[in-house]
Symmetry: C2
Subunit: 361 residues, 2 copies
Amino acid sequence: MTVTIRDVASRAGVSVATVSRALNRSGPVREATRRRIEEAVKALRYRPNSAARSLITRRTRLLGVLLPDLHGEFFSELIRGIDHAAQMGGYHLLLSSSHDNANDLEVALEGMHGRLDGLIVMAPKVEARVLGPLLPANLPIVLLNSAASGLECDALRIDSFGGARELVVHLAGHGHRRIGIINGPPRNFDAEERLRGYHAALDAAGLQRDERLEVAGDFTASGGYLAGQQLLAVRPRPTAIFATNDAMAMGALSAMLDAGVAVPGDMALAGFDDVSSTQYTIPALTSVRGPISELGARAVARLAAAVSAPGTTVHLEESLPVTMVLRRSCGCGEAGGSGSGDVQGGAAGRDSVPSDQERTA
Amino acid sequence: MTVTIRDVASRAGVSVATVSRALNRSGPVREATRRRIEEAVKALRYRPNSAARSLITRRTRLLGVLLPDLHGEFFSELIRGIDHAAQMGGYHLLLSSSHDNANDLEVALEGMHGRLDGLIVMAPKVEARVLGPLLPANLPIVLLNSAASGLECDALRIDSFGGARELVVHLAGHGHRRIGIINGPPRNFDAEERLRGYHAALDAAGLQRDERLEVAGDFTASGGYLAGQQLLAVRPRPTAIFATNDAMAMGALSAMLDAGVAVPGDMALAGFDDVSSTQYTIPALTSVRGPISELGARAVARLAAAVSAPGTTVHLEESLPVTMVLRRSCGCGEAGGSGSGDVQGGAAGRDSVPSDQERTA
DNA sequence: GCCCCTAAAGGAAACGTTTCCATGCCGGCG
DNA sequence: CGCCGGCATGGAAACGTTTCCTTTAGGGGC
């Protein structure tokens, strides 16, 4: 029923070894012979059995992708980048999401054991010392936006620190002296980096830190709403707020509006990630955009390189530069006729919206 | 270096056959023997080689997932549903996205050939007669939100038709007689279903169809902006607009605001999908929510059933019921103090926002 | 003319499982 | 006491490749 390499061989009048060499270009085969073999392959609709192949080759052409429970748009853009690069390189993706903690991660890794040629892990909530022992040895690994100090693998990240710093510096440039921050969840790598950037910016601008201006959040809109209320209650009031992601910024924006506080008139506001809906809040939201899909693509490229040249194990960390996207919520941008954000005149997509002002970090 | 079942067998003092039986519970093994084997497994850190296993078993515990190039949130919620169910059933996901057309689909399917136990395909742009020949035979398949008439596989979908119809009936209930629609891309299954629902609602309400009120869109925000402008130019003007997804509704909303048209005062507006940012537009957007993650979970369940009981091939189609989420943009909902949408008092998440009014279709 | 070297091709082992069949053992029944 | 049947186990084939090691043929250099 199933057609094997042996069928192809006998139809082409050669041995299986020759068929294998012809198909993989792994040895000398006469041109005429190759043609006969290819005809037989077509006629029989032969497909090599990948299980048999990996059994002997010890290669699966499979890349594992382990992600935390992600907010929508980031997730899909990352996958897109990974997927596209993987297709180019002839790899397939074994995806598993919803792994926020070490336990889930361990289970998922256990299940994938031995099926992979490489692994991409995004685990911003797991510390390096916990993560290390979980990761399989002898497997190329790329960590994404995760703590990786001293781990035996590559680490790629969006430059959360630099983006946050630049954004807060920008707010200070508007003249704000009291700038509040809505933090991400505790023990989250990205959240900590953004807080670090906030501190660095305050220091650079010669502003005092004030613990009451640093409130807890959880990367959700409702968390942002609560945090926004909390910041509004601080006296003297901050005049600007940096929410460490867009969802919280939107929640905070709702809190402002409910409290009758005008944005950006009474209070400047900025987010992080530049999720697409930042354009549709009123006022449109200033944010920081990272090259998310490129992050994924690079991770795949690293793995592909490691697979094809094993032993060449130079583990490096890299931060991908981000871009500030200035819109009205921080006090930038023209007032505009309608206050409808920055979609004007039916501009094509979010990447070509004319009224965004970008600045690379 | 790598530890095989043979190592386990010799350490436990039994044959490989017995080890296999013990590990798979596929035959009688004395309790004492089993314990010795399990100890050996632990001591040697033995992991069965999945390639060898699939080679002889002809099972891979891999489910293919082919998706089109999807807008953010839908995508991630679907994956979440699929992934969770797959983990429960002991399956892994082979993911491949960005397949809008038949060609891409064919390439992707070709690459996965033979590696899968089952397949989930979402291809709303591909017609059934085109899709059919591409799909591998002898493999359990579930189609998602796709045209499937006469195909040899299961088909699951969000009830786009019913949701659209109910929504437009609701708009008519507000007293609107001229209701415009912003269509999705041509030849898109969901788009066609929603248009069909729109027509059904008009008929049910005894309203005339008017071709000028049916404008083209492409499921993007900027497309919605253009379509919105187009509808605003129609005389007599429509008093309500049904955008067939939320992104276009947001674009249309921008167009209204830019034109000085008040929503919902001068023009009612509603979308579809209930993407999370619908809560943050002003006014908050009325929409239709589908059980997206359940859609994915059901698909997996179907496949799992088909795998474990082959031959039992009853192919069925099913539409999952949707829920209207009424907010201010259609004229429903309290005016509210601030116009900040429906996030009030820091309600937990989008699923428990108190001021949403839901109605199951 | 002979030998050696190389290109082309074949035979067979190996990869690590599962599973079919055979075997030994024991208890119970005739 | 002999036989039968079921339980626990072992031996070995099979899955479909890749690859190592031969074999064969032909061509060029001496």
